[in-house]
Symmetry: C2
Subunit: 211 residues, 2 copies
């Protein structure tokens, strides 16, 4: 895309600040807009019939999300919540095809993102189907630190606040089990954690635990 094209596109967007905890859109709602995360972290989640929350993925800044239209859907398949204060650009879904037609590489880029997300979901399915809780949590921490990590002295910090509860909802477990494991791993100096913040100190041993 040229600079002129970028200007055009930005002129059509609405920017807004979503404070931590705000829902950008809800599962099942009509997909009226697609979004770009400029800053912050978005959590994509669904509730099952019994009301258990399952967190499917986290969106890092710079990614499009809520692109239901690209997949032939008219409603959002999941909800998106701001995990921290976020800056979000939004466009009406009606402009999707225009964008795709007009800007070369827009569609290709988008489908690469979708491909990557599918691959990630595929991995999650494998993990859930074959690994034990301990391994799954180790995997989740590794993924988070790789994709959403920030280097600090001594290790990698996960770049947004994350509770035991959230980690359990990402791994199909309970906050109790997560708490126990994090405590054990902290004793072994594999991770370190403050409330809502986790640091991976020794990724190689975490990988071992994930097998």
């Amino acid at each position: 895309m040229t600079t002129a094209q970028i200007k055009d596109v930005l002129a059509l967007a609405t920017a807004r600040l979503a404070p931590a905890g705000e829902y950008i859109f809800d599962e099942g709602a009509e997909a009226a807009s697609f979004h770009l995360l400029l800053d912050g972290h978005i959590q994509v989640e669904r509730l099952n019939a019994e009301g258990d929350r399952v967190i499917s993925l986290h969106i890092p800044p710079g990614q499009l999300f809520g692109i239901a239209k690209a997949l032939g859907r008219t409603t959002y398949p999941a909800s998106a919540v701001a995990a921290v204060d976020c800056v979000v650009l939004s466009w009406p879904m009606s402009q999707w095809s225009e964008f795709a037609d007009r800007y070369d590489g827009f569609a290709t880029e988008t489908y690469s993102v979708i491909g990557a997300r599918m691959a990630e979901m595929h991995n999650r399915i494998m993990e859930l189907a074959t690994q034990r809780v301990e391994q799954r949590i180790a995997c989740a921490l590794l993924r988070l630190s790789e994709k959403h990590g920030r280097q600090v002295e001594g290790g990698t910090e996960i770049a947004f606040p994350i509770t035991r509860k959230v980690l359990s909802e990402m791994t199909g477990s309970t906050l109790h089990t997560v708490s126990r494991l994090l405590s054990a791993w902290e004793r072994d100096e594999i991770v370190k954690s403050k409330r809502k913040h986790i640091f991976v100190l020794d990724p190689s041993r975490l990988e071992q635990l994930a097998q």
Copy 2:
């Protein structure tokens, strides 16, 4: 697509018969072709590091598969095996973009398929994360009978041979547990099974079991 266009397209395809058990392509292999299943049933699967097989989805006749290129990938993310004798049309992946450009609706149609598959994977993740084995197996049977069912007197038969082992690999369980549950459900006249064949007699009670 017009009839003339269909003829063009078919002229470029290679047709072949894949006997039951044959691998159409392997996980990780270079994505040289994309395929259309004319007849039969394809099973998409992956192996994890320990060699456990996980079955992600089943492809019904009439669907495209192995469409890695559409998702910006150069290798297949999973393997595809013929679950029964299959008739498969294949095109070299190099023709993908040509097809997408030339035939209106081709791309849109494809992305709808991808959207549906993502939705299904999403559901699988939810199930694996929150439901117990019994519920997951009930869900799997319902899905199979809906998407790959064939009406027979008294119920619905799953349209391709399926072992306890396969069902366990679809649900992240073991063939023993599946066997036990099927036996119990057969006593309650919810399902009926011959070796490699399963009939769903009472879908409503199965839905109850799946909650």
